[in-house]
Subunit: 199 residues, 2 copies
């Protein structure tokens, strides 16, 4: 997605050899207009797949997932990283390790929101080592829901996540794919939705 790649070039900051900081428009401060365009694009890709719900994981996935849900006219459900007093229902639950935060979280979704009748589009802000996406796939498998695909805002293609998801035969749509960071500059691989940029 050209608009997103241009924004990453303009406002993304490369930290060290493998971290891209996009906190000015995605992960901390949020540009609603870019998020809306991202949601519309992901909805366009999966428009004919009869998606029943969009699923993401708190917190940075919520904004792109919400606009994707709006464009598909379905509810959005966000997985939680910690239990609280009001989550007394039966839960779908799994463990996810975050390399960025260097900790393992228990990720859960109330069973009542995902069923075997659902056809799910998973959305997340980043795909790096794929642990969050695999965790969400595991929750959907526990609920016996279909997963029509995974939509990612920014993929770090030099990490293992893409391969892990492709090995499972899942449809993957990454709107920006980072091939490498060379001398602090972002080099992009061809995005999965690049054919839609010309329309």
């Amino acid at each position: 997605m050209k608009l997103l790649e241009e924004r990453i070039k303009a406002d993304g900051k490369v930290l060290g050899k493998d971290i891209l900081k996009v906190d000015s428009f995605l992960t901390h401060q949020v540009d609603f207009s870019l998020m809306k365009a991202i949601g519309q694009r992901l909805a366009d890709v999966y428009a004919d797949k009869n998606i029943t719900k969009v699923v993401t994981i708190e917190a940075s996935g919520i904004a792109p997932a919400l606009y994707t849900a709006e464009a598909l006219n379905v509810p959005m459900v966000f997985a939680k990283k910690a239990k609280n007093l009001t989550m007394n229902d039966e839960l779908l639950t799994t463990e996810v390790f975050s390399f960025t935060k260097q900790l393992t979280s228990t990720v859960s979704i109330s069973k009542k929101f995902i069923s075997e009748n659902d056809n799910i589009l998973i959305i997340d802000d980043f795909l790096a080592n794929g642990q969050a996406a695999l965790g969400l796939l595991e929750l959907m498998a526990q609920a016996k829901a279909e997963v029509a695909g995974i939509g990612i805002v920014i993929e770090k293609s030099f990490q293992t996540g893409r391969q892990l998801l492709q090995d499972k035969g899942i449809s993957l749509t990454s709107l920006a794919r980072i091939a490498s960071f060379e001398d602090g500059a972002v080099q992009f691989a061809s995005a999965d939705d690049s054919s839609l940029d010309q329309q």
Copy 2:
């Protein structure tokens, strides 16, 4: 906001004597159309206040805050409850105790996103004991930013939050105000935006 009160009556679940569970449309599964209406309403209330940014706290505040930001055409910033490797900037930071989760979190926002030139609208999903809102006010004070008001989706009026915020002279707009839970049924007090329901 009548639409919200009706949804709470239809889908909210009262747990024990002071917990309202609204996980089917706000705190876990999210109804984008209701969130959009909520965002529009809060934007209407503060339309003439020259808001420069909407600030909330992860995770359930993000959806209503995002649509409020869209309606006001300003960026949204969400405060974080834990540091991660990419947050290496100078931080505005404070401690917030959550009665629901029974734990104290360090809440932070990067200094670069809030300045003394900002006029902030704070948005949160719930107002109960007011600790999250007071924490966000503290962060805004550290940045010397103005706070034009606080917009709340659901206020539990029988808890201390409202009084604590009013004692500070802050403009408070709660779209649904719960006076009490009687025998598991929600009793509403007059919402701060009730005059707009007739328009």
